[in-house]
Amino acid sequence: MWTRFRSSGALRSLATWDAAIIAATVLFLLIAAQSVEHFGTARNAGHLVIDLAPVLLLALVMTLIVMTGEIDLSVASTVGLTSAAMGVMWNAGVSLETIMPLAVLLGAVLGAVNGLFITGFGLPSLAVTIGTLALYRGLSYVLLGDTAVADWPRNFTGWTLGTIGESGIPNLLIPMAILAAAFAVLLHATTWGRSIYAAGANPIAAAYSGVAVRRLKFWLYVGSGAMAGLVGVLWTLRYSSARADNAYGLELTVVAVVLLGGVSIFGGKGALPGVLAAVVLLTAVQNALRLAHVSTEALTVVTGSLLIVAVLAPNLISSAGEALRARRRRTA
């Protein structure tokens, strides 16, 4: 079924977008390794993998959500709130082994709140998640104020930055690869995954062919929240700091990579390989600019521009193609 899908006209342009973004990523890595000092070292490659973990994990679920034609702008605030809650629990003397599953559970509950407002009350996901973006971030400030909890056990924080033996391969790479592969299989090779495309491309047609669109979306939001909870755990341990402003503004980067990866903001179109390439590309660009001593503020210009270009470029290409066809018709 997948091959037939691919050869259909609508998706052919997308397959080339996928290929283009992967090619651009490889090209950038090669050029940066040549021209930016320290970029190509094994040490920096390890840092790069650790740096892209939060965006990658959040982008996996965000891809599915955008694919259904919805959006979740509250992910970064959910990361912040779970991180703040971890800090409060740790201060209260709860063990880290208990805190970690509770943080993921809290994330799932916060995601379920989004899902309830969106699928239960039928409210626009954009407005709901702008609301919870403010609400969850506000609650993290209520929990921790402007203080930080930093006394996390070394063996845990060390693991997030550590490598497997002497190999130089970051510990994080294995779980990240497993999760990414699992999501790719889920989306591209299962009925459930295909129903996400259906729900995004035409929700009414999907509903009539037996897809429980609302239930599907609800669980996607629960999944998005749980993943944000997991990232909250990761973020807290990686920086060894639970703060209310953790992951502030990260939702922009996540949405940017999903759109740059070729997922249509209107839903129904896209594929995971493009998104994974976009995650690597964006993180590598930021990493290279930082190594080249470009200020962190300049990085926001890059992310913002890439976000716009990611949506603008396919639109311009398709309208240019249309103009060309129209002219050909006129001359014929």
Binding site: P124, L135, G138, V142, G304
Partner: protein
């Protein structure tokens, strides 16, 4: 839902058909006034000084910029759009205005610089949305970061201090007549002008039409592109004017001016009853929403509630407002169906 909810806007004096709906929609402004009154009474009973001249003046100072930006945001939201870049636009305009003034540019020219910078930002947004066919959310989320990045580029770590600005400009910024700050008077006048534009001018009415049914609006030959550009440029220009007021009020301007402000503005507009899916709402409601948010943030310290609660309250208000809109919309639709069955 939106098409039903904005029926009264298109037929303001249609008598029988819209009275029930009119009441429900007017209820929003009434509800906002009641909430404002309740909040003020409670806060004043905790500390009577909340109603003192100084306290009210502080409140109006704080409200001036929010009201102004809410008016601009309303215009964009009416067209089914959103402008998340207003905070960054304000920052850019405030910094450029302050820099121009500190290098000796006369005030009227600096004012033009500020408004012009804002209008240019708005034009960029409008062009990306209209010509690039990029959804407004994505376009302005991108320019939020691009515009802010530009401010950081030009400002670096430096800032303009109050001592660098002309005396008269700062006096105007802190001045008041009969206890009402000049800045608030400007905002109120602009709000009134936008209200008249939206209700009495063809271009203004077109924005409602575009928002409630873009397809139909285009079919009737309405110049959709020009109207969209007008909306975004107006929103940007008002954010630019907001930047000038910001500079006048604070005197000290650095690259972070207006950071994160977009959330409050979206909250003010949504709480003020402007439907996020366009076509319905008034600029007066948005102004009341802005006023309510300002009163809340000024009342928190008086009520001895931690200032850290403010953002959480903003978020909760957005959720409550859109849920309420949905409820009102559903009730209105049911009422219309009942009426229709009577006619049959």
């Amino acid at each position: 839902m939106t098409t039903v909810a904005d029926a009264p806007d298109q037929t303001p004096s249609a008598g029988t058909g819209s009275t029930a709906l009119d009441l429900i929609l007017r209820f929003r402004a009434l509800g906002l006034l009641l909430a404002l009154a309740a909040l003020i009474v409670i806060t004043a009973s905790v500390n009577p000084r909340f109603l003192g001249a100084q306290s009210i003046r502080d409140l109006l100072f704080a409200a001036a910029v929010t009201v102004l930006l809410a008016a601009g945001m309303t215009v964009v939201v009416l067209t089914r759009g959103i402008d998340l870049s207003v905070g960054s636009t304000l920052g850019l305009s405030a910094y450029l205005t302050a820099t121009a003034l500190s290098s000796g540019t006369p005030v009227p020219l600096a004012l033009l610089v500020g408004i012009g910078a804002g209008a240019a930002c708005g034009a960029v947004n409008g062009a990306i949305v209209h010509f690039g066919k990029v959804p407004p959310l994505v376009a302005t989320l991108g320019t939020l970061y691009v515009f802010r990045g530009i401010v950081y580029f030009t400002a670096g770590g430096s800032r303009v201090n109050a001592s660098d600005l002309p005396r008269g400009f700062l006096d105007f910024g802190s001045g008041a007549v009969l206890g009402v700050p000049y800045l608030f008077i400007i905002s109120a006048l602009v709000l009134a002008a936008v209200a008249v534009f939206l209700s009495d001018y063809r271009a203004g009415r077109d924005l409602y039409a575009l928002g409630s049914n873009p397809e139909a609006a285009r079919q009737t030959g309405l110049p959709a592109g020009r109207r969209l550009m007008t909306a975004y440029v107006l929103c940007g220009a008002l954010a630019g004017l907001g930047g000038v007021l910001y500079a006048a009020r604070f005197g000290t301007v650095d690259a972070s001016a207006g950071y994160g402000m977009e959330l409050n503005i979206v909250a003010a507009v949504v709480v003020g009853g402007v439907a996020i899916f366009g076509g319905s709402g008034t600029v007066l409601g948005a102004g009341l929403g802005a006023l309510l948010l300002t009163v809340i943030s000024n009342a928190l310290p008086v009520l001895r509630i931690d200032q850290f609660w403010q953002q959480a309250i903003v978020g909760a208000l957005i959720l409550a407002a859109i849920a309420l809109d949905r409820l009102v919309g559903l009730r209105a639709a049911r009422a219309l169906r009942r009426k229709a069955s009577h006619v049959d």
